[in-house]
């Protein structure tokens, strides 16, 4: 196959996406006993390689004897075309093995709009795309990641879903798989034998019921299967696996730098935020562990930039000391430090000022809503005066480019809130011009990015409706018109149709598997790429399956309505989510967990894990 792939590589636009062999990538001796694992990212190499989870699981699995984990990505369309023409199946980056020959293929579900690519990758591997059509001769198809919390739209394709964290259960799963492989037990028996592993969900063991086209419930049909699948969590991040290496990618990876997860979870409780809810409780990695890991990663990769990853970096309990320690360690070696998701208060500004001595990064703020009222509705504890003060500080320190993130279509939004977005951006601009002239070296660059609210499962807004695409478009026009007169403010927004499909999938049931399949047959793939997303084809696929897309995106009738993810538990109680939604309606704030526990259910369901 080597020769043939060489022939393909000479004809594609970016061959380095497909070559593998990067620094720290692994090649192993393969024996009869080796469990062959394909870590599959359903998008192109540059995106997949930027994802921290890939590096964690890759080394975790390859550190195990008798396991060889290789990588699979979606080939870009030019490559796919030649692959199909030459009947070349999807092959692994490492040993160029056809994916269909592997034992397990594990997909990571990072965003809904990658679902059609999963089907496409299965097909490119020469595999039946539906689980029911695959037999013992085919690889086991597993999946995990944030979207796995509502895996129903993919239920017909995937054999095993991992709900929640997976670093601490994958080894156990692999051990049991090894037994299944050597003893050649039936697939279904194997699946029955793993349901006791924490967080494991076997979609084919459940059946959903519908009445008058409405989802009304889902129940196990195998006696071994639990009624509720509880997410799995890693309790102690310090003792949990984190690799001392990263694969150093070729091609232009979106994030091409060392990265360490400093904590998991979030205490803020923003009511629209999926990750903030499903990854509770907050678990921190200690400064000592972080510096030890970082030291190894920098040594093993040669990176000159380190990113401290988390949902809300400023909330790390001792960020000052951590940054101080890393800076003094790496200043001489010229390793820059970047802090994504920083909330900009005066304390963070001090840190930023320290960091920028090494390397200057862009500044981003995420007020999310334009008025204080709406920020209270979504429980985003940012006040305008804090924002302006921080921006002022940043300008004085020499920054001149600021990005502002907002969301539109949030519950209770009015015209005033849209105007608020413009007003806030304008105030930021004015803040710049309030500085003494000698400090204004350049024209400021202010970017306002507007995304569309998508109601997500397991958030307080999971019952809320989404604006119709036409309403979103009208709001985009309204805002564009206002911003048009501000030459220094760059305004951009997300595509409304894409957001609409996202909301269908984020709260969808398993009937959507048919829809995804139909859409894929009609040519849908790379839906997260605007040049490939085809809304009409998706709507046609839904109508073809007799489903009303609007029903998925609309507000749900009441808190008692059955939800297609009711059989999955993220640890937070439905009651808590409902009360949060009620508080949102009256703009009542909920405290940060660090100020006081609001009994979301985590400490009850995972005793002793929540000690913020």
């Amino acid at each position: 196959m080597g020769m043939q792939i060489d022939y393909l590589l000479k004809q594609v636009e970016k061959p380095s996406r497909y070559i593998g062999g990067e620094v720290n990538s692994i090649n192993k001796e393969i024996s009869e006993e080796t469990v062959r694992f394909g870590f599959a990212f359903p998008d192109v190499y540059e995106i997949g390689m930027s994802f921290m989870g890939l590096h964690i699981l890759y080394f975790l699995l390859n550190d195990m004897d008798d396991v060889f984990c290789e990588r699979l990505f979606s080939p870009w369309t030019d490559m796919e075309k030649i692959m199909r023409e030459t009947e070349t199946p999807l092959f692994t980056m490492e040993s160029r093995t056809p994916a269909g020959k592997l034992d397990i293929i594990g997909f990571t579900l990072q965003y809904e709009m990658s679902y059609s690519n999963i089907v496409n990758m299965l097909d490119l591997s020469g595999l039946p795309v539906f689980a029911r059509d695959r037999d013992e001769s085919h690889p086991l198809i597993i999946a995990g990641g944030p979207c796995a919390f509502n895996p129903e739209p993919l239920a017909d394709f995937i054999d095993v879903v991992f709900i929640g964290d997976s670093e601490n259960i994958l080894p156990e799963f692999i051990e049991r798989f090894k037994v299944h492989k050597t003893e050649k037990t039936a697939k279904r028996e194997f699946l029955k034998s793993i349901v006791d592993i924490s967080g494991i969900y076997i979609p084919s063991f459940y059946e959903a019921d519908y009445e008058d086209g409405m989802f009304v419930g889902i129940n196990p049909i195998e006696k071994e299967a639990p009624t509720i699948i509880k997410k799995n969590i890693v309790i102690d991040l310090d003792k949990s696996y984190f690799p001392s290496k990263q694969i150093v990618p070729y091609a232009d990876a979106v994030h091409d730098r060392a990265v360490i997860e400093i904590f998991r979870g979030c205490t803020r409780g923003c009511r629209f935020c999926h990750a903030g809810m499903v990854y509770r409780p907050v678990r921190e990695r200690s400064i000592d562990t972080i510096s030890e890991i970082v030291d190894n990663i920098i040594k093993n990769t040669g990176y000159d930039e380190l990113s401290l990853a988390s949902l809300s970096t400023s909330d790390y309990s001792d960020l000052g000391s951590l940054v101080e320690k890393l800076l003094s360690r790496y200043e001489k070696e010229r390793v820059g430090i970047s802090l994504p998701s920083l909330r900009l208060d005066s304390f963070s500004m001090e840190i930023l000022q320290r960091i920028q001595r090494v390397r200057k990064t862009g500044l981003t703020f995420a007020p999310e809503a334009g008025t204080q009222r709406l920020r209270d509705v979504i429980n985003k504890g940012i006040e305008e005066k804090d924002l302006i003060e921080s921006v002022e500080n940043a300008f004085n320190l020499g920054w001149d480019s600021v990005k502002l993130y907002f969301m539109i279509g949030l519950p209770t939004e009015t015209e005033e809130d849209l105007d608020g977005i413009y007003d806030l951006a304008k105030k930021v601009l004015e803040t710049y011009y309030r500085m003494p002239k000698e400090k204004r070296r350049r024209k400021p660059r202010i970017t306002v990015s507007v995304s569309n609210f998508v109601p997500k499962a397991f958030t307080p807004f999971q019952w809320e409706g989404q604006d119709d695409p036409s309403v979103f478009m009208e709001k985009h026009r309204y805002l564009s018109k206002m911003f048009r007169k501000e030459k220094t403010i760059q305004f951009n927004y997300h595509d409304a149709d894409t957001s609409f499909m996202e909301s269908v999938f984020s709260r969808g049931d398993r009937r959507l598997s048919e829809v995804i399949h139909k859409a894929w047959i009609s040519g849908c793939k790379f839906d997260s790429w605007s040049e490939y997303f085809n809304y009409d084809k998706w709507i046609a696929a839904m109508e073809d399956s007799g489903l009303d897309p609007i029903a998925y995106a609309n507000r749900f009738s009441d808190y008692n309505q059955a939800l297609s993810w009711d059989h999955i538990s993220a640890g937070i109680e439905k009651q808590f989510l409902a009360s949060e939604n009620e508080k949102a309606k009256i703009g009542e704030l909920t405290e940060d967990c660090r100020q006081g526990c609001s009994n979301c259910g985590i400490s009850k369901n995972y005793r002793g894990t929540c000690d913020v």
Partner: protein, 235 residues
């Protein structure tokens, strides 16, 4: 400040790396190896490196050259070992030495590239290929960047050739071609031109191109870049 000149090879999977990717690979390899690099000043410091006419994406090579500046002298064999331990498979430093810090840029001195091209062609055509290459002129049609169609004589840029027959239809063509800013003939373009003249398309996607070395033109004929290292080596 000291300047190292290194010759390296590029083989196997890494031949598909673009030049910018190669630069990144080296930057990181230098950092991992602990070589005391000299950095540029400013907000985004980067090491000072320059390359001599890097070969195209898809070509293997045993004749790639780069200069890099270091702040203190590193023993050359140690430098080579440290780098080869950490470079990805397929990239390997094969020679190195110190050059004058003020030496002229590598790029400006390239005049020729020597290639070995493996491809297949019907046996009967080999004789005709040999004759064709021995002609005074081989006219080929070329489209310039501005879209103009011009005829140029490939022979002006062919400074030597050798044909080695392999098994079956396989043949190896060794050629010395003009390279650099004063004239440049890409071996893929050469194959295309030759195919047209022979009335038989040569599929360049099935051809393997290896750049053997690059040369500067001197009064004594082409001089391998590697010679420019040893001549001014400081240790």
């Amino acid at each position: 400040m000291y300047r190292i000149r290194a010759r390296y090879e590029k083989k196997g999977r890494v031949k598909y790396l673009g030049h910018l990717e190669i630069i990144k690979v080296f930057e990181r390899a230098f950092r991992r190896s602990g070589v005391p690099l000299k950095y540029t000043e400013g907000f985004n410091p980067h090491p000072k490196m320059s390359f001599a006419l890097p070969s195209s994406v898809g070509f293997s090579s045993t004749g790639e050259y780069m200069d890099v500046e270091v702040t203190e002298i590193v023993e050359m064999h140690k430098f080579i070992i440290a780098m080869n331990e950490t470079l990805p498979e397929g990239l390997r430093i094969i020679a190195g030495g110190y050059v004058e810090p003020k030496a002229k840029s590598l790029m400006s001195k390239v005049d020729y590239s020597e290639f070995q091209i493996d491809f297949s062609i019907q046996k009967e055509l080999v004789g005709r290929l040999e004759k064709l290459l021995s002609l005074e002129s081989i006219l080929a049609i070329k489209q310039t960047k501005s879209g103009k169609i011009v005829e140029n004589n490939l022979k002006d840029d062919i400074h030597g050739f050798e044909i080695i027959k392999g098994e079956g239809n396989a043949i190896t063509l060794k050629v010395l071609l003009s390279a650099g800013s004063r004239g440049n003939l890409n071996p893929i373009f050469l194959l295309k031109g030759l195919g047209e003249k022979l009335g038989e398309e040569i599929n360049s996607n099935e051809a393997n191109v290896l750049r053997i070395d690059i040369f500067a033109s001197t009064d004594d004929g082409p001089l391998s870049f590697e010679k420019t290292i040893s001549e001014v080596a400081m240790q």
